[in-house]
Amino acid sequence: MNRSSDSLILENVSRRSFLKGLAAGSALVLAAKWDLALAQQEKPYGAEAMPGGWVDDPNVFIRIDEDGTVTIVNHRAEMGQGIRTSLVMVAADELGADWQRVRVEQAPGNHDKYGNQNTDGSRSMRHWFDPMRRAAAAARTMLEQAAAQRWGVPVDECQAGVHVVVHEPTGRKLAFGELARTARELPVPERSTLTLKPREAWRYLGKETGPQQNVTGDKVQRPLAIDGQEIVTGQAVYGADVGFDDMLYAVVARPPIYGAEVASVDQTEARKVPGVVDIRQIDGTRQPGGFEPLGGVAVLAENTWAAIQGRNALKIEWDNGPAGDNASYDTRVFTEELMQRAESAGQVIRSEGDIESALGNAETRVQASYYMPHMAQAPMEPPVAIARMSDGHAEVWAPLQNPQAAHDGVAQRLGLEPNAVTVNVTLLGGGFGRKSKPDFVFEAAELAKAYKGRAVRVQWTREDDLHHAYFHALSVDRLEAGLDAGGKALGWRHRTLSPSISSLFAEDPMHKGNFELGMGFNTLPFNIPAIQLENPPASAHVRIGWFRAVYNLSHAFAIQSFVAEMAEAAGRDHRDYLLELLGPAREINPQAVGDDWNYGESPDLYPIDVGRLRGVVEKATAEAGWGKQRPAGRGMGLAVHHSFASYAAVVFDVEVQDDSSLIIHSTDIAFDCGPQVNPERIRSQMEGACVMGIGIALQSEITLEEGRVQQDNFHQYEFARMRHAPRAIRVHLINDNPDIAPGGVGEPGLPPVAPALCNAIHAATGKRIRRLPVGNQLS
């Protein structure tokens, strides 16, 4: 074959049972080189460990029409991270498709067909870069075979170019469209026969996207963001934009306390509201509530406004008995309890060296406790779902991060076979973890069951969204360090206390699980002789759920703030001190420090790479001009964090004025996710993480009293607005290295933002923030 010899090395590896997609019965698989190590592990890692696994069948993901239109199926949820563009870039590039003739089709929820679709954990590129390339390489090979047949020549004389196959000896060409019908009939080639394009041949991957602006010498038409035009013209379809003529519009009054139930409801006034059609109770679930509806009373109407008015007119008595002590949950009291509990030892998670003597012999001891509140994901699009049941078939339309969970739950709830349920995934108006929990879909399904043949839309209001989120876990982290006379760290003790997400699914475990500790707690990458990590208990009194970057947020806030406090106690520069704590460049096996989770990834392919941590610290500080003299009231702050297999460091340059107002002059973010598929969208994720992190640092807090959320809407639950956004966010992407495994992008930029900002505030004012949000602590 006429191919570059340094194509990615592909090798045969044996593979375990559930392999699907290609050449049924074949136990052979070709994998790019980082897949090789995966397959040799006993325990499944990566995409293989996910429900539904991966699929690389070209017939599932790629369709070529006779007019040359290439349709690529995107099976991951689009929520602003740009996956509909980036994953299509992967397939289009490998196929040799011309971007102008590529369109994308959104897959319904069906992981048996498409592989895992749960779009969270910053996994899309980690898990799908390789399978999608293989699918496209197989499709390209089939086009070349079709051309060879047509011309009656050997296939290795036929090479796909841009949307054509060329017969190299004669220069004859056949367009993809002309070959489509023949290619479609061919058997899918074995993986062992596939070759992936070498990096030099990439036309879209790793390149800039967006409208071309005089890029000299770059003849390639750059890919445009898939949904860009539709978004700016109001044509893009989100959950609530799906509608049907006879649709019922529903809103639901849910119990204000987790686990409470309807005691009685007086519908009289609500039924008088013009446009109200019906009122129905929905059953709820006590804690642990999982993804089940909270229950309550639904008002169905001819339009959303009537439904809201009807709900306002309901008179409901709630029975708080089933809620147990959730009915007395008070976050202020709870936080103080955790602060107290943090003073005593807890379950030991990791222990190295002799912590007591390290702390006892220290010249200086530093100690601090940090608090991060509950927060709501609050995507701009509140939860919404449409469901319709007719002729023994249920169909759902909703903005879903995890369509399979919605699919399985609807089938079970309505007593339908899996293939009698269709879950259509719309664009998501933001997700941030909220839309990985399909409770709102099940509400719609319940109502659709009662109105067979009619579509029902359940619309959450903002109040619903804030009152009934799956909250980010409130946390207390207590840290203590002992330093020698030179300021060097001898011992480090960290106790972390937070309710666990596991409390959603089972009896409250009161302790964080591995998948929570592994988010920057037990993976502490510091070079300190004595390390003691403990996890005292904390109970859950609200639904706790994934929020972008999850427990990394609180762990990074505490650890990265504390390092700055240690540096100050040692009289050292923060950056130098941080680098000293990190120690020399080295790879830490996560399992060796007790993390057998590692974001579901192989510890061999995804070690904790201290060199890369150092690399982002050095890059961000260099770009920001770290160490420059700052005028009074001005300061720089730094933080670094490893999460979701990527590395991020953030430096803020801030000013706090005499009236205590904060100006964020600039932010420098250095980010290393390894190979970069779509650098422009990576930068936009970092910019977004920066702004969201500013809101986490300065503004966002959900509190509860007597089990009820105290914030109703955006005047009480705030996050960053335009006036809080830095004048400049400079993103520095480093280490675009195709030889390492790709890291995550959507979440890892967020954890270092709040501590970097609080460290900058400290540098500017001397004020140390240990409780988030900053709120009015500066005045």
């Binding site: 509608g243 701009m380 699009e381 809407n713 996050f719 335009m722």
Partner: protein
Amino acid sequence: MVTLTINREEHKLDVPNDMPLLWALRDVVKLTGTKFGCGMSLCGACTVHVDGQATRSCVTPVSSVEGKSVTTIEAIEMDPIGRRVQEAWLDLGVAQCGYCQGGQIMNATGLLKQNANPSDQQIDDAMSGNLCRCGTYTRIRQAIHRAAEAGEKRA
């Protein structure tokens, strides 16, 4: 019955006088580009133009816009400033999820109608009522400057 002029077309709607324009647009006229974000004039996702003024449709009763001209994101490209704003948005890849962006574009267009070349501070003041949970503000700021420059070139 309320008669509204929306995107230059007349619509007779059988809705109560106090129904917010947002729900009349979305549920009755089926123009879904205008989004619901808060219902309390706190986020700007529902921004439309009423006689060229950026207006929060979620707190605007339909009866109050009778006889006025309502423009939504679906038709803002007919306005030369609106078109420039949309182009600047695409050039800079402003949108992430995009849900807030219709409202952002309507608000930015309203700003540029009143102030052809706003400063950063004026942009911050005018745009701080429009929330974006994805955090696209720095690009929005740049895009407004870009649209303003494009307007100057054409003027």
